[in-house]
Amino acid sequence: MAANNRSANLNVQHRKGFVLAWVFGMVALLLAPAAIATKYDVNAPTGTHEGEDVAQPIEFPHNIHVKDNGINCMYCHTYARRSKVAGIPPTSKCMGCHKVIATDKPRIKKLTEFWTNKTPPPWKKVHDLPDFVHFTHEIHLKKLVFDRDFPVENVKEVCAFCHGELENMTVAKKVKPLNMGFCVGCHIANKELGAPGDCWKCHK
């Protein structure tokens, strides 16, 4: 009985140690992005949203591209740093790789079919802002990445502010509310960096 108790105590202690190590590990992980030396820090927006699954013509796996292959968001969404919209990449961009890579997979076969038929896949918009909102990707990227000397290879951490961790999703899903409170909250938190608070900056 006593022995049993002792072993139970030991177990608890052991577990405590494990938990502590785990907590330290997580803290270290959380601090890791902060360890990147940037010119200034920004406050990320807060809020979560339970978006619906959007059925896309091809079930595009963001996780394979971002997590497994480490492709930069802006490799495909190349307009993000140059214009208002991030842009859906043209099929030619997909085919740039998939003419030779994984051509036997069913999803790629479907893609190749779209390509040979010369019809763009009818992608559906997931992060759709109302028409009365003026939002530009380029200035947000300039302020949050380029002006800040944030390493461009880690840009997905900045994209995740509004789009969630796409490295863990297949098809994109709206996981942030993207409503006025979400935008304004972040703009107030980053007021010193010049985030505007004027209604007519965004309302059009």
């Binding site: 009365f132 003026h134 530009t136 380029e138 200035i139 304004v184 209604c199 007519w200 309302h203 059009k204």
Partner: protein
């Protein structure tokens, strides 16, 4: 954005020019319209319709005073006692004057209209509840109310393709007015920001100024001393916040600048240059 925030900062947007106005201006967009070379062709008004998704209301509603033209040409007869060809028509393009101490702003019960740091008199459509106080308090009568859901009928297919995506199509029950083409200002400012510089003079051109065949309309920033508008204002001795301007002797024909209803202390941002007439 809480109610607290609105209440605490309410007065920031409610200051008249005598109190320094909305004090931290980044720009003060303004216009100078030379009536001497305006020939009343209405191109500005048409351009405004195209740029700002304005609905064509039709003759009946127009007669009821429900027109939606943000920019109208007012026609006056100089010689009332004469018949048409000699009647001496003169024209005046009239749009929102973006008053520095606008009378429409303090009466809005929901702060849908307020002064931006750009010196613009903003109208936030989402916030507007359609009380129409602003319109009734505007001495220039340049605010237009959506009595109908024009988006349903004003642009039958495929005409909705002509709508400008940079400005929303207003719904029924919302007040609207000239914005000094804020979407163009926004685009120019965004571009300047991307290139780490200030907005240059001439970079922003309103649709009316662009369409004017005689270049009677000049648009720019009066905070930029080297802008064409600033120079015109200075040349004609029109100053913001100066109301009781004593008109100089009529002999000085070079001083033609005036602002409409200057004496009401509304501090308009549009300066008109009087017509030059031969002495009859």
């Amino acid at each position: 954005m809480s109610l607290d925030n609105i209440l605490n900062h309410w007065s920031d947007y409610r200051k008249g020019s005598e109190e320094g106005g909305h004090h931290d201006y980044e720009h003060r967009w303004a216009m100078a319209i030379n009536l001497d070379i305006c020939n009343g062709c209405n191109a500005c008004s048409t351009a405004c319709y195209a740029e700002n998704n304005l609905a064509v209301v039709g003759k009946e509603r127009f007669e009821k005073g429900q027109a939606m033209h943000w920019l109208r040409i007012e026609r006056y007869w100089d010689q009332q006692d004469k018949d048409y060809p000699e009647q001496g028509a003169s024209f005046l393009p009239m749009m929102c004057q973006h008053c520095g101490s606008a009378t429409c702003e303090p009466v809005c019960p929901v702060a849908a209209t307020y002064h931006t740091p750009d010196g613009l008199n903003a109208q936030v459509y989402n916030r507007c509840i359609g009380s129409r106080y602003c319109s009734n308090n505007c001495p220039f009568r340049v605010r237009y109310f959506n009595f109908y859901s024009y988006y349903e009928s004003a642009w039958p297919e495929p005409m909705e393709q002509q709508l400008n995506p940079d400005i929303s199509v207003r719904d029924k029950g919302v007040m609207e007015k000239c914005t000094f083409c804020v979407q163009r200002i926004r685009t120019a400012k965004d571009k300047a920001k991307m290139e780490d510089r200030e907005v240059q003079d001439g970079e922003v051109m309103t649709a009316c100024a662009q369409a004017c065949p005689t270049s009677a309309i000049v648009f720019g920033d009066t905070m930029d001393e080297n802008s064409v508008v600033s120079k015109l204002w200075k040349k004609h001795q029109v100053e913001r916040g100066v109301y009781a301007k004593t008109k100089l002797a009529k002999k000085d024909k070079d001083l033609r600048g005036y602002r409409i209803f200057e004496e009401l202390n509304v501090d308009p941002s549009v300066m008109y240059l009087d017509r030059v007439r031969e002495d009859i």
